[in-house]
């Protein structure tokens, strides 16, 4: 698809700015999302191709404003919802529960 992910040759993104002495992960949640790829594909049986396509389905503005591991999270959410394993409503309810001090 002619999506925003197809970045080759685009102008206007500015300098690259590599981070000196960059850690492998920048937050605990990034580690959990990273580990969700292998653990989730093991039971849900998705391919890396389906995984990438779910990332490409992000709305363009959101794609550019979110980070690499946020793209991964979006992909897992989409693929698990399509399979009926974790619905959006179920996840949103759990997020609310955590916000209110639950687990």
């Amino acid at each position: 698809m002619n999506g925003i992910h197809d970045l080759g040759g685009m102008h206007g993104f500015g300098p690259i700015n590599p981070e000196p002495d960059e850690p492998v992960f920048h937050a605990e949640w990034e580690k959990r999302v990273f580990g969700l790829f292998a653990t989730t594909s093991a039971f849900a049986g998705f391919s890396v191709d389906e995984f990438r396509h779910a990332i490409e389905n992000l709305p363009p503005a959101e794609y550019l404003e979110t980070s690499y591991y946020e793209h991964w999270l979006h992909s897992f959410e989409e693929m698990l919802a399509i399979r009926g394993i974790v619905t959006k409503a179920e996840l949103d309810a759990r997020v609310d529960q955590i916000r209110q001090g639950g687990q």
């Binding site: 002619n2 080759g8 040759g9 093991a42 039971f43 191709d49 389906e50 990438r52 396509h53």
Partner: protein
């Protein structure tokens, strides 16, 4: 399958190759000049848009691989050859690109026509 910690070193060291062990004829020999098809599917593809219509040369035949465009949508593996295609930077980006520079992009049989 439930991925347990004891399996992590195994899957990490083995991975899952997209190479397919099937005898499938290559549409192009190395050294052939090819033109990238002008394709704009609304579905998944690994053809970068900037290459549509560009002319290059088959540099390496990597062998037979799963075709991501169908595989992403559970439409089968459609195994086919994947090649490293050489493009002159000026062919892709015009006369302001450096004359000596090249691009090498891995493209599938289904993305290519004879030039």
């Amino acid at each position: 399958m439930l991925l347990t910690p004891d399996l992590v070193p195994v899957i990490s060291a083995s991975g899952q190759s997209a190479r397919v062990d099937e005898k499938i004829a290559a549409r192009f020999k190395t050294g052939t000049t090819v033109r990238v098809r002008n394709l704009h599917p609304t579905t998944h593809t690994r053809l970068p848009g900037y290459l549509c219509g560009k002319v290059g040369t088959v540099e390496i035949d990597h062998g037979v691989f799963i075709f991501p465009d169908t595989h992403a949508h559970n439409l089968g593996e459609k195994p086919q050859h994947c090649y490293s295609i050489r493009f002159k930077a000026t062919e892709v980006w015009g006369p302001t690109a450096a004359a000596n520079d090249t691009l090498r992009v891995d493209l599938f049989d289904d993305y290519l026509d004879p030039a």
